[in-house]
Amino acid sequence: MLYFANWKVLLISGVCLLGVLLSALNLLTPAQLAYLPGFMRKQVTLGLDLRGGSYLLLQVDVAAAQRERLNTIVDSVRNTLRDAHIGYTGLNVEGDALTFTIRETDRLEEAKRDLAKIDPDLTVEIAPDGTGTMKFSAVATETRRRQAVEQSIEIIRRRIDETGTKEPTIQREGQDRILVQLPGVDNPEHVKALLGRTAKLTFQLVDQSVTVEDARRGRLPPGDEILPSADEGRGRGSGGAAYVVRKRVMVGGDTLTDAQATFQNNEPVVSFKFDSVGGKKFGDATRENVGKPFAIVLDNKVISAPVIREPILGGSGIISGSFTVQSASDLALLLRAGALPAPIEIKEERTVGAQLGADSIHAGAVASIVGVILVVIFMVLFYGLFGIFADVALLFNLCLMLGALSLLGATLTLPGIAGIALTMGMAVDANVLIYERIKEELRGGRSMLSSLEAGFTRAFGTILDSHVTTLVAGILLYWLGSGPVKGFAVTLSIGVLTSLFSAILVTRLQIVTWLRRLKPKAIPL
């Protein structure tokens, strides 16, 4: 018991010192921190619930993107079968599959071969009775999903960066979710509105051969679609509530290189520039269709349908509609950032104002400090000098916890602070176990030294068991919990580990030093 190898003493003191230093780093202001070398610039990151900010959980609707892709394939299937003169009925998109029935059952093989050429990602199956389905293969679906999520993250990052939010975190969560954290944002409505829009822009010709009313009555020419006006409901549109437009896209928004909100005749408008490919396509299309209207379509709604007066060859243009200054600048932002590959839904929003965050930090700090002080007093009352040893270990434990949190770059949340306070209460349990054991051994008539020795060794197994069970709960919480609860799990688990070190080794080191220096005759317990 009396023997403590020098290297052990050094190691224990070193770890404690490191803990104190690391936790002290948190007292520095960001400006002071900047003077330190990079490896020392470590501080506990505060969660959004403490610093204020907005947390959004988004889901990429991959299925919707896939349905849309299937819808575009319907036309290809129709054309393929028509070109091959194969009769079919009931061509339809049902769920995640495209279904149809081939009438000529003797040409099934031929139909299958032709249809398989449309898209290598599709699997074609035709039963002997002629009913067929086309589906995306599992591998293709998975690849698509991954690509869609990755692309979405990229686009979302660009959109958020454009709004000027500082230090946003955008990360993938699970299979098809994206977690967006916006520190300092206390009203995310604008961001939500921006993220909720796909922003798919296309230029399509308006079909004037048929009126909207006729088309709605079922006389929609093949290759056409009816699109509602974006003005519908706002009551300012002059061109009616819907348009019949060609499905074929003249130019898509993916060829834009820039978009800016500006004014034309005192009305807010959005000016845009094409890249060279888009500019040439747009020039060609406008040259061939002078005098005809074309529709500017955003997310399947027609913003406006101007008549082409002359070929537009400069590679740039202007979108006018009934914009406000805000909506024009939003649209310009969305066009610059690009379209999302799939629609996005917001599943969860948690926003904390900076004031509540400050209140929470304060409340958490007060609660922890009061808790620590109460525990410290309690231990002195019941264990005297040994209680002070335990209290010193407890304070080192607090530093070690904060140090570990800083080192790991863990995020401290309000439940995380609760975890710290709770650990302060539980950490002394190891000391209590040891001291009670020592008392018991003394009562049993053992000598002072052998009681101390027995107290530490015999209590150790119990301490280990009890710590492991708490650690199990902490790890599961981390694994299955979300957001703030994860923060609790982190501090609880770290606290369990550091308290194992401090309550056993730091206390023991103090007792050994006390024995050597003061050569006491009895244990004050």
Binding site: E189, I346, G371, A421, T469, L480, V485
Partner: protein
């Protein structure tokens, strides 16, 4: 420096005398919980059922709940629940200026859900600071319930396996029943008083499971040790002895944890209230269950004492004074 308060002697409380009463009480509590859970249900927070929670502070004085409620009712978003509260910081004024507003989940999926907060803000008008807004869609809520139940079951399972591994299976049974009892009655507390049950409550329950096991393990450890030491002592006396020998530790530890949790409850603010209440109840019930359920159960599913005595290593040999003969 000597301690001011000293527990000198090992108490001689006959815990086993009360164990049937404990069993009865716990059975009643558990059944009551299950009945209330099935009939009245839990007051789930938006984490689990979806919906909107807004913490607002009226900047010009006390909050007028009736006026706010009528403004919110005009939105036809379902029954709004408003609750004024005090907590340290900006919300410490009395009468309270801070309000928790809860709006139920809206039909129409996640998209409809996300509009609610803005609608409420528009309806309530100016003069209000929005301290916190939480909107959870129905899908996320049901996933969180599933994850929560899974976490609890896995935690119990993992702890059981650990105990099984470290002790005999009989100890595992006792510890599991006691911990299950603690989890159930903590849920019961929330069901009876219809306190809001949310993610932090769940975190508290898992922590309670860990704490309660911790407490039980300490007592079991001592029982196993005594089984090696006193091979002929009647089992009933052996349980009592182990409980009495560990009693001062039990009381001291529950006190320090309770002090920390009380401090959280008093100073921790509104967000941590549910957590602190659950923890406080949990450590009390966890201590009770270690004494009156976990230990006495072993009287009925007795571990094989001979096998345990054989596994005892010589280091654990009793000092001469303690010998039972």
């Amino acid at each position: 420096m000597r301690p001011l308060i000293v527990i000198r002697r090992v108490p001689k409380i006959d815990f086993m005398r009360w164990h049937l009463l404990g069993f009865a009480l716990s059975t009643v509590l558990s059944i009551a919980t299950i009945v209330i859970f099935l009939t009245a249900g839990l007051n789930y927070g938006i984490d689990f059922v979806g919906g909107t929670l807004i913490e607002a502070r009226v900047t010009s004085g006390p909050a007028d709940l009736a006026a706010m409620r009528s403004k919110l009712d005009s939105l036809n978003l379902g029954e709004a629940s408003l609750q004024a509260f005090n907590s340290p910081g900006d919300c410490s004024s009395s009468p309270p200026s801070c309000v928790l507003i809860r709006l139920p989940e809206q039909p129409g999926g996640d998209a409809a859900q996300m509009k609610v907060a803005q609608m409420a803000r528009d309806a309530l008008g100016p003069g209000i600071e929005y301290r916190r807004t939480e909107v959870v869609g129905p899908t996320v809520g049901s996933e969180l319930i599933r994850a929560g139940v899974l976490a609890t079951v896995l935690a119990l399972g993992a702890i059981l396996i650990y105990i099984w591994f470290r002790f005999e299976w009989q100890f595992g049974v006792g510890a599991t029943i006691a911990t299950l009892h603690d989890v159930i009655t903590t849920v019961g507390l929330f069901a009876i008083f219809q306190l809001e049950f949310n993610l932090t409550t769940l975190a508290a329950i898992l922590t309670i499971a860990g704490y309660s096991i911790n407490d039980t393990v300490v007592i079991y450890d001592r029982m196993r040790e005594s089984m090696r030491k006193y091979r002929t002592m009647p089992f009933r006396d052996l349980i009592n002895l182990a409980l009495n020998e560990t009693l001062s530790r039990t009381i001291l530890t529950v006190s320090t944890v309770a002090l920390a949790v009380l401090s959280l409850l008093i100073f921790g603010g509104e967000v941590l209230k549910g957590f602190s209440i659950a923890m406080l109840w949990g450590i009390v019930i966890g201590t009770y269950s270690s004494l009156f359920i976990a230990a006495p159960i072993l009287y009925y599913v007795q571990p094989n004492r001979r096998a345990i005595a054989r596994t005892g290593d010589t280091a654990d040999a009793p000092p001469a004074e303690h010998a039972s003969r």
